[in-house]
């Protein structure tokens, strides 16, 4: 089966500015991939090319086996833009109904009810968009992206306007969506969020992927920390496998061992190392 999203040697130039340069990326069926990078790294450009909003300068992008931008590709995806807006005069129900008709979804009222329930907007069904808070509009945006049961979701900063509770709701939602076999490409600045939910992570910098892998692969071993009666000792080059030997040595030397912690770099540390302090 074709990957949900396949990006090959993708490049994009805006005049003299190189937004993307020879990017390769895959999102497999049912996989949740996080795309990280500072502002201007090319994350949104990559997503927009996959959606057919922006034309690539070179390279190839396929969505569920169809060329990005083709009707078949667009029928397979759900998209939430970083900066989006729905018409203020429309109600939540009308927004979803419009997208159902555009996506040729036959879900009807049942689908709209299910989606509004999913994003905790069931009570705001008849409320006009202009009367909603930014967080509510963001959740409506996620519901809109899910209209028509897409095979892949492309989400550009879906939690940027949400409070901590809203973020948690979205995180749980993403896990549920993945559980149904839907693939997700998630652009986010929130490293902890990406670390918690993503199967794989790619870090973009200056239009190139500078690091990619599972959060576990990216988080390098950084030694072992052992708490003894003499205080905390850090063994920088030690790994998890070395722990029994280290503990045995300390005990043999007459030390009392109270605790052991295998140290790994966090995604934030990996990210900061990869981008070298670049912010935009």
């Amino acid at each position: 089966m074709a990957a949900a999203l396949s990006v090959r040697s993708l490049s994009k130039r805006y005049g003299r500015v190189v937004a993307l340069s020879a990017v390769d990326l895959d999102v497999e069926e049912g996989q949740l991939v996080g795309l990280l990078g500072p502002n201007g790294a090319g994350k949104s450009t990559l997503v927009k090319i996959a959606c057919g909003l922006v034309r690539a300068s070179a390279g190839e992008v396929q969505v569920c086996g169809a060329r990005a931008g083709s009707p078949a590709a667009r029928a397979s995806l759900g998209y939430l833009a970083e900066l989006f807006r729905f018409p203020g005069w429309a109600t939540a129900d009308e927004v979803l109904e419009l997208h159902q008709r555009l996506a040729d979804s036959d879900g009807g009222v049942a689908e709209r009810t299910r989606l509004l329930d999913l994003v905790a907007l069931a009570d705001a069904r008849k409320r006009r968009v202009e009367e909603m808070s930014k967080g509510m509009q963001q959740r409506l945006g996620i519901a809109q992206a899910l209209v028509g049961r897409p095979r892949i979701l492309l989400l550009d900063e879906p939690t940027s306007a949400l409070d901590p509770v809203g973020r948690r709701t979205v995180r749980e939602l993403l896990e549920e969506i993945r559980g149904r076999g839907v693939s997700v490409l998630l652009n986010s600045h929130l490293l902890s969020e990406v670390e918690l939910v993503c199967d794989r992570v790619a870090i973009l910098l200056g239009g190139r992927i500078v690091a990619a892998g599972t959060p576990g692969e990216l988080a390098e071993a950084r030694g072992v920390e052992i708490e003894t009666d003499e205080g905390v000792r850090v063994f920088d080059v030690a790994r998890r496998e070395d722990v029994p030997g280290l503990v045995a040595e300390l005990v043999a030397a007459g030390r009392s061992v109270y605790g052991v912690r295998v140290l790994r770099s966090t995604l934030e540390e990996v990210y900061l190392e990869a981008v070298g302090g670049t912010t935009s």
Binding site: K48, L53, R74, R85, P87, W89, H99, L102, D104
Partner: protein, 282 residues
Amino acid sequence: MSVVVGYALREALRRRVFLVVLLLTVCFLGLYGLANYYIFRDVASIQVPEDVPVDSRTFAAAFVDGMAMFATLFLGVVLAVFLTLGAVGGDAERGLLQPLVVRPLGRGSLIVGRFLAAATVCAGYVLAVYLAAMTITGLVGHWWPDRIAWPGVTLACAVALVAGLSLLGSVFLSSTANGIAVFMIFGAGLVAGLLGTIGHALGSATISHAARIAAWALPFEALYQDALRQITSRTSGLTGFLLRLGPFGGGYTGGWGVRLWAAAYLVLLGGATIAAFSRKDL
């Protein structure tokens, strides 16, 4: 495409601009009715010398009806421009367009749907205002145009053409810049039409020729002139001559040539808009 037409129609009807135009229209028609009352009260008392073969009632009615057509065209253009000036660039800047464009519906269908909705609203509006103004003049002044429906249809087509121009502009320009550009083009067309009237009155072939070129380059002006011409198409003699001196009865461009050219112009505009929109990065 019907989805987009329905969406754009609802948007047009629910936006405040529509309400503003409706209020302005009510004011205009009220004042127009008042003007008609005073004009025809005074016309009744005018004694035209017997050796001057002018039908003062026809002259006054055709003149005031022509003026109403100008106002109708202007209000219709305001509506058309405000409904379409940000259809691509403006909506993309605000993030309204992207969620729609990523759906399987093609960009061509989206833009055609937007045009059809704007044209339907504007054409309906122009026809309604034209008929209302004509009815006011007919009831108050007891005068009816030589052709009743066709001038209104022609006027509605002129406004639809401006909506097409505005849609094309929206692909390249921001909302404000596009609005300014379209109103400047509209103004240029009207000035060219007035120049043509002056050229004919003065008997200047050069000015008339320049005005005719402008009317063909901007066919909404040619259609407006065509509509004006039709309301007095069977009015002859000195009354007809005086009316053609303008400014509200002096249409010199018209006929099927202009109408067919306007239709072709609209198709070309549509093709250019779709081509440009298809290549635009959002």
